[in-house]
């Protein structure tokens, strides 16, 4: 296990400047995700400004990104360890369906507890196999992806499960506090929580260390296995929370809940600057990534782009965005050292 080779040349974000020069300028330079977002917002303003910035649409946008936002945080912490979790979508579905169906889904609070437990169990299984059995995260979570989705279908025979407390869930999903939907507030609280854990605690430092150089982490006495396990469990909890938020938003545990969310979450994490081989990535980037994809989807809808073309647009946007980012980067690179490190 010597040199990594996920990308032939290090990805832009993978190349930290040797000296963290002027902090503000340096920070701004590396925030290309932010520029993509700004560009998108400009496009939105020009094409559909009044509607896009309207209160209704902003509320919608916030709602649309809060669930995926929480899932993206889960994906981020896993990616930071050098892993990947493609089961987040299915796990969210399972948490939502069981929270809606268990005991008939009599209360919103009970639903939260159930969803968190389901999420934690899935995360614990993934994490156990990855950390204690040393399996590839991709294949483990691929298995879990199929397993959890299968259980979703089997639990409700494919028919949506409406909890007894559907009305309370619907109410929760619509409630706003000073104009901000509670679901969005939950997301933002989670953002703050994960940022705190990653940047301010010993645990967070260890997560980065493991992702960057697992050998060095181990030989420095860091409990690699338990830390890794805790990462997957925390990710599971976040996903469970996402499942519960799904109920709050849609008031029904549909069998497609969370479908393909994993791709969006990974994309958001990566476009936000995290490195898939681990050790590098910021919460802020993940949040920006989340917003980018939510704005893209929203904008394509607002522009009433044909269903046939939406996927093509989305794909082309991703390609253009990441390519532009490297152009900026390679200019910077020419100024410094290419083969450095």
């Amino acid at each position: 296990m010597s040199a990594t080779a996920t990308a032939p040349a290090p990805a832009p974000q993978a190349q930290p400047e040797a000296q963290r020069g002027s902090p503000v300028v340096g920070w701004l330079k590396s925030q290309y995700a932010l520029y993509i977002l700004v560009a998108l917002l400009l496009v939105a303003t020009i094409t559909r400004g009044s509607i896009f910035w309207g209160g209704t649409n902003l509320t919608n946008l916030l709602l649309q990104m809060s669930i995926i936002g929480v899932v993206t945080l889960a994906e981020l912490i896993v990616v930071l360890t050098g892993g990947i979790d493609i089961s987040v979508g299915s796990a969210l579905g399972l948490a939502a369906v069981i929270a809606a169906g268990l005991f008939g889904g009599p209360s919103v609070f009970l639903g939260l507890v159930v969803a968190l437990i389901i999420g934690a169990i899935i995360g614990a299984v993934n994490g156990f196999l990855v950390s204690f059995r040393g399996l590839e995260p991709f294949i483990v979570t691929l298995g879990m992806l199929a397993l959890a989705r299968g259980l979703v279908y089997a639990y409700g025979n494919g028919i949506p499960i409406n909890p007894t407390a559907a009305a309370s869930y619907a109410k929760l999903g619509q409630t706003t506090i000073i104009g901000i939907p509670v679901l969005a507030i939950i997301w933002l609280v989670m953002v703050a929580l994960i940022a705190f854990l990653l940047y301010r605690t010993v645990w967070g430092r260890r997560v980065y260390a493991i992702g960057s150089n697992v050998e060095a982490a181990r030989s420095s006495g860091i409990p690699v296995k338990t830390t890794l396990w805790s990462v997957y469990i925390l990710a599971g909890l976040l996903v469970g929370l996402g499942g519960w938020m799904f109920l709050g938003r849609f008031a029904s545990g549909t069998s497609t809940a969370g479908n393909l969310l994993e791709l969006e979450a990974i994309a958001a994490v990566v476009i936000g600057g995290a490195r898939l081989s681990g050790g590098y990535g910021k919460v802020f980037g993940a949040v920006v990534g989340t917003i980018i994809f939510a704005v893209i989807a929203n904008l394509l809808s607002l522009l009433n782009v044909s269903t046939f073309l939406q996927d093509a647009f989305r794909g082309a946007l991703i390609l253009v965005a990441v390519t532009l980012a490297t152009i900026q980067f390679s200019r910077k690179r020419r100024a410094t050292a290419p083969a450095a490190k």
Binding site: M1, S2, A18, Q19, V202, Y208, K341
Partner: protein, 513 residues
């Protein structure tokens, strides 16, 4: 192997093989090289000396085209224009041996020898590979660099750092080149391999190759080189003829002051004390039945050839690797250390010889790397005390003379400075017992005495230190007691006051059994 201008190995009319003029290399915030003019001649060994971070590796990398110049140019004889990248440098005939050897782990030893056959250009042989990987030719080449014992179809992944270094060196035997750069190739090799390197260098030199040799070991520099170029802070201070200078002059040029000769340490007072660590009949890795004690306040040296089992001992008694059998007692109490974490709980730590793989976290800055081990102590309820971390890291950087700030990425430091960061990381945890595996690997002579002082400081606080080193001289001037290993066993013990380098080397080499 290529040009032949040297009738007796010492050209009177030197043929210039490379000429660097006004070479500058600036990294953001660092002037690694700031205007260097240097020539290299055919059939000579040019040693490049300088303190850590002086710019030696940087110059070597520029010559090898691995990194672009900021300013100036390097002309290589026979090549039409200044080289711009690694591929061109290679065409021009430059062979670079990196400080961290580049080995393809998933290839066999044999395949790694012949790696150049995969390169671009006319050497491509599209439908035939594997031809040489297991041939007698390969074995002969490996034997020349002291790896005759390896099987050619063994995976390179399983080699130790010293073996990796020699393996990458074996490529010199199979490629054609005019300039060969050895960047601290000897830092992780022992005397035995040094002789192989010496032979190789002599052969190359005889064939008219220019050899650039970077090392902190002045005895090697004087044994090998024809000229010595001294760098300081990115500037070329002087180029001396080896025959006309002496180590003192070179050190003075390097670090700006003469180095006082190191005294042999006074024997440690161990009478009547309970051993801090007792190892009994330890088996594990290449260690086969090792027993010894380390007393509080003692610095014990462990000497031996590459593969004699020193690192295996160090790793098994610090929980880095599980022991196959044997007992380890700490202060008379038997312990089972099955992970570095457990060892850390017992205040037992191991400084790795494999900096690249286990030493530091590449995405961390110096501050984060230095605090990696002690972080729990600098935090409350798992929350890091940022102020404390910041101030303590500053102190450490000063104490260990690291060239770089707390926010500099450790991976961008020069090799020696990285080593200092790693040592600081471990010693800051204030261990009761510390195993230092090749602690001064790549550290310059100036900083070296500073590190020795720190090590003695640790011992003075009634802690135990076990130093593993391939440099007999180093152990003699650092340790209270020296154990010599051979074939996985401890075969002799020396008092540094009554032994010299020859004793150690002879004991390590002799095959009495």
């Amino acid at each position: 192997m290529t040009t032949s201008t040297s009738p007796d190995g010492r050209p009177d009319e030197p043929e210039v093989l490379f000429r660097a003029t006004g070479v500058k290399k600036h990294y953001p915030g660092v002037k690694a090289l700031d205007g260097v003019d240097l020539e290299g001649y055919a059939g000579e060994v040019l040693a490049v000396c300088g303190a850590n971070g002086a710019g030696k590796s940087t110059f070597a990398k520029l010559l090898a085209g691995v990194q672009p110049l900021t300013e100036g140019e390097i002309q290589i004889a026979g090549f039409p224009h200044p080289v711009r990248n690694a591929a061109e440098a290679e065409q021009a005939g430059v062979l670079m041996m990196f400080q961290e050897p580049l080995i393809i782990d998933d290839f066999t030893v044999g395949e790694n020898v012949w790696l150049y056959k995969l390169r671009e250009g006319r050497d491509i042989r599209p439908w035939a590979t594997k031809v040489d990987a297991n041939s007698d030719e390969t074995r002969r080449v490996l034997a020349k660099v002291g790896l005759g014992g390896l099987r050619t179809n063994q995976l390179a992944r399983d080699l130790g750092p010293g073996q990796r270094q020699m393996l990458s060196l074996s490529r010199a035997e199979v490629t054609t080149h005019k300039i060969m750069i050895l960047d601290e190739t000897t830092a992780s090799t022992s005397e035995e391999h040094f002789n192989d390197i010496l032979d190789l260098v002599r052969r190359e030199r005889g064939a008219g190759t220019h050899i650039m040799f970077v090392s902190h070991r002045l005895n090697e520099v004087f044994a090998m080189s024809d000229r010595i170029a001294v760098l300081r802070n990115g500037l070329l201070v002087d180029v001396l003829k080896t025959s006309e200078t002496n180590p003192d002059e070179v050190t003075t040029l390097m670090i700006g002051q003469a180095l006082k000769a190191l005294d042999r340490p006074k024997p440690a007072q161990t009478e009547g004390k309970q051993p801090l660590v007792s190892v009994r009949d330890l088996h594990g890795g290449t260690a086969a039945g090792v027993s010894f004690d380390v007393f509080p306040g003692e610095v014990v040296g462990l000497y031996g050839l590459v593969g004699s089992g020193r690192s295996s001992v160090g790793r098994t008694i610090t929980g880095q690797k599980k022991a196959a059998s044997g007992t380890i007692l700490i202060r008379g109490e038997e312990v089972a250390l099955s992970s570095p974490g457990q060892a850390l709980d017992k205040s037992v730590v191991y400084l790795t010889e494999d900096r690249r793989l286990e030493g530091f976290v590449k995405d961390f800055d110096n501050g984060e790397n230095m605090s990696l081990v002690v972080l729990p102590k600098w935090s409350k309820g798992g929350v890091i005390d940022a102020t404390k971390e910041r101030s303590r890291v500053r102190e450490l950087i000063d104490e260990f003379q690291v060239k770089g700030g707390p926010k500099t990425y450790t991976s961008s430091l020069s090799g020696g400075n990285q080593q200092k960061v790693v040592i600081a990381k471990w010693l800051e945890s204030d261990p009761d017992f510390v195993v230092l595996d090749e602690p001064t690997k790549g550290i310059d002579v100036g900083a070296r005495s500073n590190i020795y002082e720190i090590i003695h400081g640790v011992a003075a606080r009634e802690k135990g230190v076990l130093v593993i080193s391939s440099e007999a001289e180093e152990l003699l001037s650092l340790c209270h007691r020296i154990l010599v290993m051979r074939n996985g066993q401890i075969v002799a013990e020396f008092d540094p006051a009554e032994a010299d380098t020859d004793d150690l080397i002879r004991t390590a080499l002799t095959h009495q059994d």
